[in-house]
Symmetry: C2
Subunit: 460 residues, 2 copies
């Protein structure tokens, strides 16, 4: 089983039942303290063994002077010590049964110390351990409540963020938390001495806690294997990838950063189109499109109906939809007639986009129900352009009745907007800050779904 | 003086010394209450006369049963009554010396009552009053502390938002307040029976409180005059315009909304390029680019240097810069040598983008100062990809020393990010939520500046 061998052992990493933290510190300003604290405060249920030559206790946990001094076996070692101390610690951990390591420490290849990185690689090969990093921001896997990373992110969601940049991973996780969504995992890959982006893709493809993968990549460690795995996995689980190095200057910069060969951007691009991988072009759309794929259940049909309290936002959404390959079908006379009897305001403009003008939330429900009865669209966007009392309740009800083919753009609403976003997310309906971002995310999700269902891969 | 005649009278609107609110209500749920409350709570210093047939008092102000009952002359009338009552109220207000009116009320052309709108137009012509609306969200002009609009927005800034959509105006104002920037004005144009977008452009071109105009338009009331005025004004004051109706479906929707003929989008687009008007393609970039033009003082030179704690974000910024027509010049050996002596971390990657890795804020200062001594770039982007203590202080100091050619992207920082954004904005340095949004805004601002300074209008 090739797949198993290649991504094998990652279960020992993500579902480790016990963890040693080498380089644990009493100093709250040090990473060796933060990582330990985040594991403990993040709700991890397994045993935790801090290691520091000065021993004592940290966060009420007894500290062991060395890995060898830990009195029993453990599964995972997290290293936050000087680079030259890491290879030895890994071998000691392997002797204690550890099957995986996360090397937070920097000072390897990226600092010109290829020799130390070679030692790490040798340790991985000799011991059979799977290593993440070095020079990374760690992993956070919520199903195991294991935050061996920073910042501390606790809320559980179903988006896995896999990143060659710690900052991009932390940014997506931060947004997901702010919006009440949470994540299933963040993975910072670092120098990828052993575990690479493709291993992670294989793991999360099988992970029932993850509905979508959001990836930031600068290149693939093994381009051929990446393409093989991506092609297979995408049929089961959606992926959105932000790949940098699109331009010559960006490729030079990427070569200095992860030293991964950015490769021909055109090849990557063509593969995305062919396989049905959504390619994002900035951090926000990486997040938005992954969120849409996480929360919406689509058919791949590209007809969208837009219901709005803001005429302007309806037009902006329509423009964007047309540009994204969605279609905004005109309202057939029979639907217009039914909407005319639905008790909307006399100022409402009965078209698609349907401009309710400054209407109560119930008008959204009446309008969407009428449209749905006539099968007008495959996906619906509700635009709330003002604080509208009862909006969440209506959205909840519609989702229960019509299904997860409804997205919301909520704007111009100040503090009400923020609380409504949280409650709509709790109801499982994705909310975007502008009509354009909503439409682009929906467009990506529709396209990816269409590809997956084999309805055609040449929409773009 | 053609310009004076055309935009004449708007001073009576924006700088009105006294206001009557027709349709003032005691019911906090009604717009007639909210508008009155926002005028009073917004700090307006002139006299305010609520008008309602049921009289009494509202917010401790005596209420007059009709406009004719107001005991003295006043400058501005705000109408929030039933459409058919508006024309009469306007004529009464004119008799009391009012030179301007804001018609919040809907129920005119947009509701098929062209007859009532004709009556409004006749009242404007007969009385010489300048009218904003009808069917609009009013105006907020902070220099006169006059918020005859909603929501209540108090903080003063130097961005004027002029919009054919009340929601778009409220959204931009909301973001500006959230970010600690404020606005100089928001103007919701509504049906434009009299005052149109071009009148507003002429007013704000001359307004010393406004540094930049951000406009949402569906069409121009008089295309030829719009082009004439825009061409003249842009030499003095930057404009960013989001125009909807880019697609056929969008144009149909725009025709239903403001009934303005969207016109050939290509003509508008060509005019923007020729004159140096930034054309935004979504609500967020309208805001971002206007913010960059408001806060940055540029030369029009397109060389950018990027200093970052996140290698990934540096590459993303570089890609985006190249795509926006900015150039990311490589680091000459003498600058690299000086940076090598500047006390940066050994892990720093001495290039442009300059990846400081996880460095203290002072390293940004040392690096930027060295680059500036060598005149490496025309504009600088500092990317903070983590909460970095002392970042604001460093940014403040750099701005004082090097000038307003520095922008910041701050991300992955959670709550620290939010407070740092406020304090950097207080220091006059624009902060963007991602490197890509920062670069796109800078790119627009550089291009507009280059056009204005006559260095060339064919960059794009």
């Amino acid at each position: 089983m090739k797949g198993e061998r290649m991504s094998g052992g990652l279960d020992r990493l993500f579902n480790a039942g016990s963890v040693a933290v080498v380089g644990a510190s009493t100093n709250p300003g040090k990473l060796g303290h933060q990582i330990l604290a985040n594991i403990v405060l993040g709700g991890y249920q397994g045993r935790v063994y801090p290691v520091n030559p000065r021993a004592g206790t940290i966060l009420d946990l007894p500290v062991y002077p060395s890995v060898a001094d830990i009195p029993c076996d453990f599964d995972l070692v997290v290293a936050v010590v000087r680079a030259d101390l890491v290879p030895g610690a890994l071998r000691e951990a392997a002797a204690k049964g550890a099957g995986a390591g996360i090397i937070i420490s920097g000072g390897f290849r990226e600092a010109g110390r290829d020799d130390l990185e070679d030692e790490l690689r040798a340790a991985a090969i000799d011991t059979g351990m799977r290593l993440v990093g070095p020079n990374c921001q760690g992993i956070n896997y919520r199903p195991n409540k294991l935050c061996a990373s920073w910042p501390l992110v606790e809320p559980s969601g179903s988006m896995a963020v896999i990143s060659q940049s710690g900052t991009v991973a932390a940014t997506l996780a931060g947004w997901a938390v702010d919006e009440g969504l949470g994540i299933s995992a963040t993975v910072s890959l670092g120098n990828q001495v052993d575990v690479c982006e493709t291993d992670m893709i294989e793991f999360f493809a099988e992970d029932d806690n993850t509905r979508v993968m959001a990836l930031y990549l600068e290149g693939a460690k093994d381009g051929r294997r990446f393409l093989e795995v991506a092609k297979r996995v995408i049929l089961e689980k959606p992926m959105v990838i932000l790949k940098s190095g699109r331009t010559a200057a960006g490729q030079r910069a990427a070569a200095s950063h992860t030293r991964s060969l950015a490769g021909h951007d055109g090849v990557f691009d063509a593969a995305c189109r062919q396989f049905g991988i959504v390619r994002a072009y900035d951090i926000e759309s990486l997040y938005d499109s992954a969120k849409a794929l996480e929360m919406l259940e689509l058919t791949g049909g590209e007809r969208i109906a837009i219901i709005t309290s803001s005429g302007g936002c309806g037009i902006l959404a329509t423009d964007e939809a047309e540009q994204c390959g969605l279609t905004v079908p005109p309202l057939p006379p029979e639907v217009a007639a039914e909407l005319g009897r639905a008790g909307l305001l006399p100022t409402a403009i009965l078209a698609n986009p349907l401009d309710l003008t400054v209407a109560p939330a119930e008008h959204y429900a009446a309008a969407l129900a009428a449209m749905d009865r006539h099968g007008l669209a495959d996906v619906y966007l509700l635009v709330f352009g003002d604080p509208i009392p009862g909006a969440t309740e209506v959205v909840q009800r519609l989702k229960a009745r019509i299904g997860a083919c409804i997205a919301v753009a909520y704007l111009g609403g100040g503090d009400v907007e923020k609380s409504e976003r949280l409650s709509m997310h709790a109801a499982g309906v994705p909310v975007f800050p502008t009509p354009e971002r909503a439409i682009r995310a929906i467009g990506d999700a529709v396209w990816a779904t269409k590809c997956r269902l084999g309805k055609g891969r040449d929409l773009r």
